[in-house]
C-alpha cells in the first residue's frame, strides 16, 4: 500500500494509491503532515499511507491529533511525479527540501490520492518530534 523510502521514482511501475475518501462531507479530515484527505473512519482503520509512523490505526486518539477537519480545497493527485500542481504544493515529494536538508535518500514519495491544498493547523510538538525521529520533513502551514 505504502511506498515509502523506496528511493527511486515510482513512475513506471504500479504505484500504490492511497485510499480515496468515501464521502465528501464533514467527516473528511486531512493529515496535518502530508495533507492526505480521507474520512475519519478511514484514518482510524488504515492510518495515513504517507505517514505510517503516526500509527493512527493503532491509536485512535492519534487520528484526532494528526488530522484536522479544517482544510482548504481538495486536489486529487493522479500522478504525483508528473503533476505540476502536486509539485507546487509539495505533495509529490520533498525533493528540494531534502536536497536542502541533505536527506535525499530518506524521503519518500506521496501516494496518489486526494490531498488538500492547505491545512489550517500545525502538528503538535510531540508529533513533530516523531517526524524528526523518522527523519521525515514537516512543513507547518503558512499563516496569513
Amino acid at each position: 500500500m505504502v511506498n515509502l523510502g523506496g528511493g527511486g521514482g515510482g513512475g513506471g511501475g504500479q504505484v500504490a494509491v492511497a485510499q480515496i475518501p468515501t464521502s465528501f462531507g464533514h467527516e473528511l479530515r486531512a493529515c496535518l503532515r502530508c495533507r492526505l484527505v480521507k474520512t475519519y473512519d478511514q484514518f482510524r482503520e488504515s492510518g495515513c499511507e504517507n505517514c505510517p509512523f503516526f500509527q493512527m490505526e493503532d491509536d485512535h486518539e492519534r487520528v484526532v491529533d494528526c488530522t484536522t477537519p479544517n482544510f482548504t480545497g481538495l486536489i486529487s493527485v493522479m500522478d504525483p511525479t508528473k503533476s505540476w500542481a502536486a509539485r507546487w504544493l509539495r505533495i509529490d515529494e520533498y525533493v528540494l527540501v531534502c536536497i536542502y536538508m541533505r536527506w535525499g535518500a530518506l524521503t519518500g514519495k506521496f501516494a496518489p490520492g486526494c490531498y488538500t491544498l492547505a491545512v489550517s493547523e500545525a502538528l503538535n510538538p510531540d508529533l513533530q518530534n516523531i517526524c524528526e525521529e523518522e527523519h521525515v520533513p514537516y512543513v507547518p502551514p503558512k499563516r496569513v
Binding site: 475518501p21 481538495l74 486536489i75 486529487s76 493522479m78 508528473k82 503533476s83 500542481a85 504544493l89 493547523e121
Partner: protein, 944 residues
C-alpha cells in the same frame, strides 16, 4: 518572521487558555527545554526564510508542465467531482492521462483538471455525472500559481475571543466564545438573543405562524419573566460541566439574558473582529468589572494592526510593574516599544511589550478616530476612563466613546463619513420592521436612526441591509391649530419632554415631525414629535417648493393659497385670518365678509355650481345654489378656493346645469345635498397633505370619490377600465351612464390630474368599497363632507378592494390620500360638517378660546351643527353649547364602550376590543359582529 512563528506556536498550544502575553515566552522556552534537536526548529525557520520563496520560484510552471483546465461542474459537487475523477483514474489505470483534479472551496461551479492536452481532459470527464462537458477553458500559465495559492486560515478561537457569526439570524452579530470543542469543531458562544417571543409563543401554542420571516428580531436580552408571561415553558437546568444554571426555552439555553449557542467553528469569523464600543458595552454584565474588561482588552490588543504605535505617541503602561507609567514612544521594534518615561529617576528609555501598552490621551487633546464605527470623526477629548476615551465630535457635538487604541492625536477637523450607499446623514428612512426614523449618525457600517416614536427618543442602530428605502416625498402635516406644516417650516413644540424647543421641520412622516433644533444636544439635534404637539411659528416657507414638486404641481391649481400666519398662537378659526383676499377679518369671527358673495363651487359634486353665500359658521359655508334653490354646506378654507375659482375661471353654465340636474336623481337624501358640496372645496387643501398615515377614514369618502370617478370612468384614456365596471356594479342606475359626463368637459378635465394611478389611488377606492355603496349608505354618508374627499382622486378604482384595512397594503404607503385626512382633517377633529357628525352620548373634549380643554359628553346635536354638551367626563356637569370646531372626540381606548360615528354602522354602539394601528376592532352590540373600523370614526360612549 519571529512573529509568525509565535503565532504558530500559540496555535500548537491551543487547548491552553489564552492568556495574552506570557504565553509566547513560555512556549519558546518549552521548545529549548524539551531538548529537541535544533533542526526541527530550523526546519520551521528555513521554511519561513526567503529560501522557501526561492525554492518555490524554481517550481513555477513551465511550458513543459501540464496545464490547468477549468471545467464546469454542478454547484456544491466540486469536491465530489474531484474525488470521482481520482477513482476513475484508479479504475482505468494509466489510460487516463490527467495529472490532478482540483476543487477549490471558494470557487463554486468549477473544478480544475491538470493535463497535458485538452483531449485528455475530455476523455477523463466523458460520461461523468455532475461535470458539464460544454466548455473547457485553459488557465494561462501565469495564473496557474494563483489557482493554487490558498492561504490556510488561522483559526484562533479560544475562550473569551470575540467573534462574529457568519450565518443565520445572528449574522454579523458579535459573540463571545464561551467554550471550544476542537475535536467536534464546535464552539459555544454567547450572543444577545434575537428572539421574537410572541412568535415563539404562537408557535408553541400551535397558532399560525407566518411562514416568511419579515425581519430579524432586534437583539435584546432575554427576559425570562416576559417569556413566562407568554406561557412559554422555561426550564431551569444545571450544566453538569460547569455547574452553571441555564434557562432552557425550546431547546435554547439562556443565562443572564444571553443566548448560549452551540455553533460550528466554521460559522464563526475571527478575522478583523473589531467590537465597537457600543457592542462591548452591551455585553458587559452588571457584575462584570475589571476582569471582563481585561479579557476583552486582550482580544482588542490582538486585533491591533502592525505599526499601531508610532514615534511620539503618548502611551501608558497597563500591565506589569510599571503599570500606569506614562511616556512617549521613542522607537518601535516589532513587538517591543521603546518609551521615554514621563517620570524622573528612570532610565532614558524603557523597552516594553506593545501588549502592555495603551495609548493615552488627556482631556483637551484634539483627536481623530482612526478605526472602528466612528472612524474618521474628529473631536476633543473630554474625559478618559481607563482605555476608553470620551470625545466630543466636531460634527455632531455628540459624545463619542471610543477605545484609546482607535484614536490618534490630530488637529484635523473632519466630518467623518456622512453617507453609505444611498443613505445620507439626516435622511428619513423606513426600516425593515416598517418603523421609520432619521439618520442621525453614520458609522462605518451602520446608521444610527432616531426612530419616529414621539413619546420618547428611541435610537436604533440600523445596518444598510436593514433599511428599506428612503422617504423623499413631500409630505404635509397639520399642527395643533390645523395649520399645514411642510418641511422647513419652523415649529415650536407645545408638549412632551421637549416642550418649548423650536426649530425647522426637517422631515414629516405619518404625522410625526422631525425637528432640528441646534440647541438640542442629543440625537444630532433632532427631535421627534407628533405634529399635533407642535405649533407653526412664522410663515410656511415651503409653499414655493410645494409648487415645484412634481407631484403636487399636478394639483397646483387646487392648491391652497399661501397663508401667512401672523401670530404664532392662532386659534383654529383664525387660521386664515391673514389672507389678503379677506383682509380685515380678525382671528375670531371668520368669514363673515363672505356672506352675500357670489361664488362658484369648484370641487366635488356641486362642482361648477354658482351660488350665494348665505352663512359662514366656523369654516363651514352655506351656499344658496342658483340653480337648485338649495342650501348646501361647504368648508370655508376650501371656500376660499371657491371664490378663487370664481375669479379664475369663466363659468361654464351648461356644465353647471348638467351637474345639478343629475344630482337629485341619485341622491335623494337630504344629507346628500349637504354632504356633496363640501367636497368641492375640500379638495383643495388636501392635496398638500398627502401624508403617509395610512389609515384612511372609513365611510365618508365615497361621495367625494364619486366625482372623480365619474370623470375617470368616462375618461377616454381609460376606456372600459375595470374601475368603471366596479363602480357601476356598486351603483346601478347611477349617473355612471348618463351622457352628461362626457369626457372633455372642462371641469372634469381639471380633475383628471389627480389620478396618477400610483399606489395611493387605491386606497380611496378601497375605502369606498368598505364603506359600501352610496345607495345603502343611508344618512350616514350624508355626513360625509369629510376632508378626505379631496384626496380621493378616485382615479384608480378598487383594485384591491379589501386592502384598505390590511396593514402593509398600498394604503400603508406614504402618499395615501386618506391618510392625510386622518390627523388634520378627519371628521373627528375637523368636525365641520353640516350634518350631525357628532352623536349624543359620546365623550368629547371641548376647547374654548382662552379656556383649557374640558371633557364633556354630547347630550344633543342641534340642527345648526352645534352640540349641547354636559361637561365632565361622566357628563354630570353644566350643559353648554359648543360649535363643532370646538369639539374634539376623545379617542376611545381598548375595551371602552364606543359609539360609531361614521359609516354604515353610524349610531351603533359596541365595544372596542382591540386597536390595530389606526383601525379599531369593534364588536357591535346589536349584531355581535366584529367590525374593523377606522379609529377616527369611533368615539367613547358615555351613557347618561
Amino acid at each position: 518572521m519571529s512573529r509568525r512563528r509565535d503565532e504558530y506556536e500559540d496555535d500548537v498550544e491551543e487547548d491552553d487558555e489564552y492568556d495574552g502575553v506570557d504565553e509566547e515566552d513560555d512556549e519558546a522556552d518549552g521548545y529549548d527545554d524539551g531538548g529537541k534537536e535544533r533542526y526541527a526548529r530550523s526546519l520551521n525557520v528555513e521554511y519561513d526564510e526567503e529560501a522557501t520563496d526561492v525554492e518555490q520560484q524554481a517550481l513555477l510552471p513551465s511550458v513543459r508542465d501540464p496545464k490547468l483546465w477549468m471545467v464546469k461542474c454542478a454547484i456544491g459537487r466540486e469536491r465530489e467531482v474531484a474525488v470521482c475523477l481520482m477513482q476513475k483514474c484508479i479504475d482505468r489505470g494509466p489510460e487516463l492521462q490527467i495529472r490532478s483534479a482540483i476543487a477549490l472551496d471558494h470557487l463554486k461551479n468549477f473544478i480544475y483538471i491538470e493535463a497535458d492536452k485538452e483531449a485528455h481532459v475530455k476523455e477523463a470527464i466523458k460520461g461523468m455525472r455532475n461535470i458539464f462537458t460544454g466548455k473547457i477553458m485553459l488557465v494561462p500559465i501565469k495564473e496557474m500559481t494563483d489557482v493554487l495559492s490558498v492561504e490556510s486560515k488561522a483559526i484562533d478561537i479560544s475562550r473569551d475571543t470575540w467573534v462574529r457569526l457568519k450565518i443565520g439570524t445572528y449574522k454579523g452579530d458579535l459573540a463571545k466564545v464561551v467554550d471550544v470543542d476542537n475535536v467536534r469543531q464546535r464552539a459555544t458562544v454567547k450572543v444577545i438573543p434575537r428572539i421574537d417571543l410572541q412568535a415563539l409563543s404562537n408557535k408553541l401554542e400551535g397558532r399560525e405562524v407566518p411562514k416568511k420571516k419579515a425581519f430579524t428580531p432586534p437583539a435584546r436580552f432575554m427576559n425570562i419573566d416576559e417569556a413566562r408571561e407568554l406561557h412559554i415553558r422555561v426550564e431551569r437546568r444545571r450544566d453538569p460541566a460547569t455547574g452553571d444554571y441555564f434557562e432552557k426555552i425550546e431547546g435554547m439555553m439562556f443565562k443572564d439574558g444571553f443566548l448560549y449557542k452551540n455553533v460550528s467553528l466554521k460559522s464563526l469569523s475571527t478575522q478583523n473582529v473589531q467590537p465597537t464600543f457600543d457592542e462591548l458595552e452591551k455585553f458587559r454584565q452588571p457584575g462584570e468589572t475589571g476582569d471582563g474588561d481585561m479579557s476583552s482588552l486582550s482580544t482588542l490588543f490582538a486585533n491591533r494592526k502592525k505599526g499601531h504605535f508610532m514615534k511620539g505617541d503618548r502611551v501608558i503602561v497597563v500591565k506589569g510593574d510599571l503599570r500606569n507609567l506614562k511616556g512617549w514612544v521613542e522607537k518601535v521594534e516589532e513587538d517591543t516599544v521603546h518609551i521615554k518615561p514621563n517620570e524622573k529617576g528612570l532610565p532614558k528609555t524603557l523597552a516594553i511589550s506593545d501588549k502592555d501598552l495603551c495609548k493615552y490621551f488627556e482631556p483637551g487633546n484634539h483627536v481623530k478616530v482612526v478605526s472602528g464605527a466612528t472612524e474618521g470623526a474628529t473631536g476633543m477629548v473630554v474625559s478618559v476612563e481607563g482605555h476608553v476615551v470620551n470625545l466630543v465630535s466636531d460634527t455632531t457635538k455628540e459624545l463619542i466613546r471610543v477605545f484609546a487604541d482607535n484614536v490618534v492625536e490630530s488637529s484635523e477637523v473632519t466630518s467623518g463619513v456622512t453617507k453609505i450607499g444611498d443613505y445620507e446623514l439626516h435622511d428619513l428612512v423606513v426600516l425593515d420592521d416598517n418603523s421609520f426614523g432619521v439618520i442621525i449618525r453614520v458609522e462605518s457600517e451602520a446608521f444610527q436612526v432616531l426612530k419616529g416614536v414621539p413619546e420618547r427618543p428611541d435610537v436604533a442602530l440600523a445596518r444598510l441591509r436593514e433599511i428599506k428605502y428612503k422617504v423623499d416625498k413631500k409630505i404635509f402635516a397639520k399642527d395643533r391649530y390645523k395649520n399645514t406644516l411642510s418641511v422647513k417650516d419652523v415649529v415650536k413644540i407645545l408638549d412632551g419632554p421637549c416642550r418649548g424647543k423650536q426649530g425647522p421641520v426637517e422631515h414629516i412622516y405619518k404625522g410625526v415631525l422631525f425637528i432640528y433644533d441646534r440647541h438640542h444636544l442629543e440625537h444630532a439635534g433632532f427631535i421627534c414629535v407628533k405634529s399635533e404637539s407642535c405649533m407653526m411659528v412664522g410663515g410656511s416657507r415651503a409653499n414655493g417648493e410645494r409648487n415645484g414638486n412634481s407631484f403636487t404641481s399636478k394639483f397646483s391649481h387646487l392648491r391652497t393659497p399661501p397663508r401667512v400666519p401672523t401670530s404664532s398662537m392662532r386659534p383654529p378659526r383664525g387660521g386664515y385670518g391673514g389672507h389678503n383676499n379677506f383682509g380685515g377679518r380678525g382671528g375670531g369671527r371668520g368669514h363673515d365678509a363672505l356672506i352675500g358673495a357670489t361664488v362658484k363651487i369648484r370641487l366635488g359634486h356641486y362642482k361648477g355650481c354658482k351660488g350665494r353665500v348665505k352663512d359662514v359658521k366656523g369654516s363651514t359655508v352655506r351656499i344658496e345654489l342658483e340653480s337648485q334653490m338649495k342650501v348646501v354646506a361647504g368648508k370655508s378654507p376650501f371656500w376660499e378656493m371657491c371664490l378663487m375659482a370664481t375669479l379664475a375661471f369663466a363659468v361654464d353654465r351648461s356644465h353647471i346645469s348638467d351637474n345639478v340636474n343629475v344630482t337629485p336623481s341619485r341622491e335623494t337624501s337630504r344629507y346628500g345635498m349637504g354632504s356633496e358640496t363640501p367636497m368641492h372645496p375640500s379638495r383643495t387643501p388636501l392635496h398638500p397633505y398627502m401624508t403617509p398615515m395610512r389609515d384612511s377614514g372609513v365611510t365618508p369618502y365615497h361621495d367625494g370619490m364619486r366625482t372623480p370617478m365619474r370623470d375617470r370612468a368616462w375618461n377616454p384614456y381609460t376606456p372600459m377600465s375595470p374601475p368603471r365596471d366596479n363602480w357601476e356594479d356598486g351603483n346601478p342606475g347611477s349617473w355612471g351612464t348618463s351622457p352628461q359626463y362626457q369626457p372633455g368637459s372642462p371641469p372634469s378635465r381639471a380633475y383628471e390630474a389627480p389620478t396618477p394611478g400610483s399606489g395611493w389611488t387605491n386606497t380611496p377606492s378601497n375605502n369606498y368599497n368598505e364603506a359600501g355603496t352610496p345607495r345603502d349608505s343611508g344618512s350616514a354618508y350624508a355626513n360625509a363632507p369629510s376632508p378626505y374627499l379631496p384626496s380621493t382622486p378616485g382615479g384608480q378604482p378598487p383594485m384591491t378592494p379589501s386592502s384598505a384595512y390590511l396593514p402593509g397594503t398600498p394604503g400603508g404607503q406614504p402618499m395615501t390620500p386618506g391618510s392625510g385626512g386622518l390627523d388634520m382633517m378627519s371628521p373627528v377633529v375637523g368636525a365641520d360638517s353640516e350634518g350631525p357628525w357628532f352623536l349624543p352620548d359620546i365623550l368629547v373634549n371641548v376647547r374654548r378660546p382662552g379656556d383649557d380643554t374640558t371633557p364633556g359628553v354630547i347630550r344633543e346635536v342641534l340642527p345648526d351643527g352645534s352640540s349641547k354638551i354636559a361637561l365632565g367626563s361622566s357628563g354630570n356637569g353644566d350643559v353648554v353649547t359648543a360649535l363643532p370646531n370646538e369639539i374634539e372626540v376623545v379617542p376611545p381606548r381598548k375595551l371602552d364602550k364606543i359609539k360609531i360615528m361614521g359609516g354604515a354602522h353610524r349610531g351603533a354602539t359596541g365595544k372596542l376590543i382591540g386597536i390595530d394601528g389606526t383601525d379599531g376592532i369593534v364588536k357591535v352590540d346589536d349584531t355581535l359582529d366584529v367590525k374593523i373600523l377606522d379609529m377616527v370614526s369611533l368615539a367613547k360612549l358615555v351613557q347618561a
